[in-house]
């Protein structure tokens, strides 16, 4: 098994991504190290094999976007849309993440050690997200499925128009969005939080978390429809 180094100060991004899409799939590459990312956008997008990508520095937009089975670790912060539409695998941001982290992710695990910006987990479709710090406003907007564990606080309108995704928050929630409510933590919830925290390598007591889920009152268009007054 080989280890490859791509220095983005010398090699174009396109070469890195093409390598990851083709050569890495042969199975002989264990790890790809990316040096001098310098905030470049679209690092390691569209991974389609269990390769490990280590980014030594800050990444721009969409790092690890659409990941399937790959593993990306960013030793720095990530820009907008990190791990957007991930299907499986793992993306780990050691620093902070900007807006729309994990947007529309269908699967896999996104771990953000620091804080995440606005709309973290927006349109989530089955992925899991663990945020060590706090998340900005409108997080989990219209989230359809999957789980979010927020170890810090949440901003305004958390979980607005939530579908079946479940959110766990340890800190303060500035405000809940439409059609969302706080529910009691069941044994299954405690176990889920414990498991996700363990996967993320973050230590907290699961019973410190609150569960937020949909009221399911917006599932049908105006309940009064078709009623004559």
């Amino acid at each position: 098994m080989e280890r490859m180094i791509f220095d983005l100060a010398k090699t174009p991004l396109r070469a890195l991504n093409q390598f990851l899409h083709h050569d890495a799939k042969t199975g002989s590459i264990e790890k790809v190290v990316v040096l001098n990312p310098d905030g470049a956008h679209n690092i390691a997008v569209g991974l389609d094999c269990p390769v490990e990508v280590e980014v030594r520095g800050h990444a721009g937009y969409y790092a690890g976007g659409m990941n399937k089975t790959g593993s990306v670790i960013i030793h720095g912060s990530a820009g907008t849309g990190v791990a957007e539409n991930m299907m499986s695998g793992k993306v780990h941001v050691k620093g902070f993440a900007s807006n729309g982290a994990g947007a529309s992710a269908h699967g896999g695990l996104l771990v953000i050690d620091g804080d995440a910006g606005l709309r973290c987990g927006i349109s989530l479709k089955g992925g899991d997200i663990v945020v060590g710090g706090s998340v900005g406003s409108f997080s989990a907007f219209m989230a359809q499925a999957g789980r979010m564990v927020i170890c810090g606080d949440a901003g305004d309108a958390l979980g607005d128009s939530l579908y079946e995704a479940v959110l766990y928050v340890r800190g303060k929630i500035k405000s809940l969005g439409a059609d969302t409510r706080i529910e009691p933590m069941s044994e299954a919830d405690l176990a889920a939080v414990a498991d996700l925290l363990a996967q993320a390598g973050i230590e907290h007591a699961p019973n410190e978390f609150k569960r937020i889920a949909s009221r399911r009152e917006l599932y049908h268009w105006n309940a009064d429809a078709n009623q004559e007054y």
Binding site: N17, N85, S123
Partner: protein
């Protein structure tokens, strides 16, 4: 003796223009239900459109081509700007994005088969790619919509081009909707939604806002596909001149402009009729924008919204489009609004089913209900049997062929060996409105409203 009955009785029948029957009906309906009307298809009001233009044809000053002997090329290339593998089509008439969910799987398959036979492309829609359409379509454009329902990188890799949808002509600024009756187990699973809910989709993309972000999003899709596949950007027609410029700056290979007549499967009527500009006005603005940036021929333009006939196609091309996309016309070819459907080789009446929806053949716009009387816009296991893929594909093929024959007929009459050589100089307008919107002279004059100071 005079009786009361013999007295002259005056019954006033003066209809109000402001409160006509349609408006009275609208207000009563609103008062009864407390909910706006949601419906399918496109704007029903009269709008300046391609019918308001005519071709000048050849005569002494230009000579025509012989109808049957002289070749008239229809080949169309899309995505030549950045993509390593541009889309090559036999005809400039494509099938617009219509979701599985709004349409049955049979319809998706019919569209794919017909498009493949004629050498053109078909497009997925809100809700992801089905096996049926991928299997049956030689060239398939994969939409990336705000909702991202069913968006899957494997499908990105399987697609021939990617279309980032910013908006639709029927509802610029609005997200999709699919009412509960159509959220069947399969649709629900594809979209990761609970079965039977009234689905409302986002109107903004979850991971980008504004043209600077869009540029990075497009780059992501390019990196993801190793710069092979063309990236289209679809906008509903509103501030088309600016939107097209921004889309070009964002790095689009192809821009799809959808005018306000464009169809939909379910949208609020107030959206359909009152937001957006007519296709005719939008094409001109889009072409102006491309010319302004010196991008005509580099970035291709697809126009949609109310394209019905070969003449419409020819006029759109002459105005500067590279291709057109059709939605509603395809549905009509499949039997939308027809009195009957075909099952086991027999024509069976669908009138009772239209009546049950409170409508009649010719007036139906009830796609949102999922109870399409002819089995097109439905997820119902029984209704969808009313449209079989073989019959559907045949009708669509005939329709596409007819459009293409009309297109080449017109092009030859204008003396063109290639339909893409049709030009604005071949057109004049029949109404002042159309002349102003299309910036063409009124027929028989050299007056272009708004030009030369008056």
């Amino acid at each position: 003796m005079e009786t009361k009955s013999e007295q002259f009785k005056h019954i006033s029948r003066e209809e109000s223009a402001g409160y006509d029957r349609k408006t009275l009906d609208y207000i009563r309906n609103a008062a009864a239900h407390g909910l706006y009307e949601i419906r399918g298809l496109g704007a029903k009001r009269k709008l300046p459109n391609f019918d308001d233009l005519v071709f000048l044809g050849a005569s002494l000053s230009r000579y025509p081509l012989e109808g049957y002997r002289e070749k008239c090329v229809t080949k169309t290339l899309l995505g030549t700007r950045f993509a390593k593998k541009p889309i090559e089509l036999e005809i400039p008439i494509t099938i617009a994005g219509m979701s599985f969910g709004s349409l049955s799987a049979h319809v998706k398959e019919s569209l794919g088969r017909a498009a493949s036979e004629l050498g053109t492309s078909t497009t997925t829609g809100d809700g992801g790619m089905t096996q049926e359409e991928r299997r049956s379509s030689k060239t398939l454009v994969y939409q990336c919509l705000p909702s991202r329902y069913g968006f899957n990188p494997d499908d990105v890799r399987r697609a021939d081009a990617i279309e980032v949808v910013i908006g639709q002509g029927a509802k610029p600024g609005g997200g999709g909707m699919l009412l509960g009756q159509k959220v069947s187990p399969r649709v629900a699973k594809m979209r990761t939604l609970p079965e039977g809910i009234d689905q409302r989709s986002a109107c903004r993309h979850p991971d980008w806002t504004g043209p600077d972000d869009l540029a990075i999003k497009i780059q992501e899709l390019r990196e993801m596909t190793d710069w092979e596949k063309p990236i289209y950007v679809k906008v509903g027609a509103t501030r088309t001149f600016h939107d097209v410029k921004l889309a070009v700056h964002s790095g689009a290979d192809v821009i799809v402009v959808d005018g306000m007549q464009g169809g939909t499967a379910a949208t609020q009527t107030c959206f359909i009729e009152h937001i957006g500009i007519p296709t005719l006005a939008a094409v001109r603005q889009a072409v102006d924008a491309l010319e302004d940036l010196n991008m005509k021929g580099t970035v291709q333009l697809i126009v949609s919204g109310g394209i019905r006939t070969g003449a419409d196609v020819a006029k759109a091309l002459a105005m500067g489009a590279d291709a057109v996309a059709i939605g509603q016309g395809m549905l009509v070819a499949l039997g939308c609004n027809s009195e009957s459907y075909i099952q086991n080789g027999q024509h069976l009446s669908a009138e009772a089913d239209y009546a049950a929806l409170g409508t009649a053949p010719g007036f139906c716009h009830h796609c949102h209900t999922g109870k399409c009387p002819v089995g097109i816009t439905t997820q119902d296991a029984i209704l969808e049997q009313r449209l079989q893929p073989e019959i559907g594909a045949k009708r669509l093929r005939n329709y596409l062929k007819t459009l293409n024959m009309e297109l080449t007929t017109i092009a030859r009459a204008c003396g063109k060996q290639n339909v893409h050589h049709l030009e604005r100089e071949d057109l004049v307008a029949l109404t002042i409105e159309a002349a102003a919107m299309a910036r063409l002279p009124l027929a028989g004059t050299d007056w272009v409203p708004g030009m030369a100071g008056y």
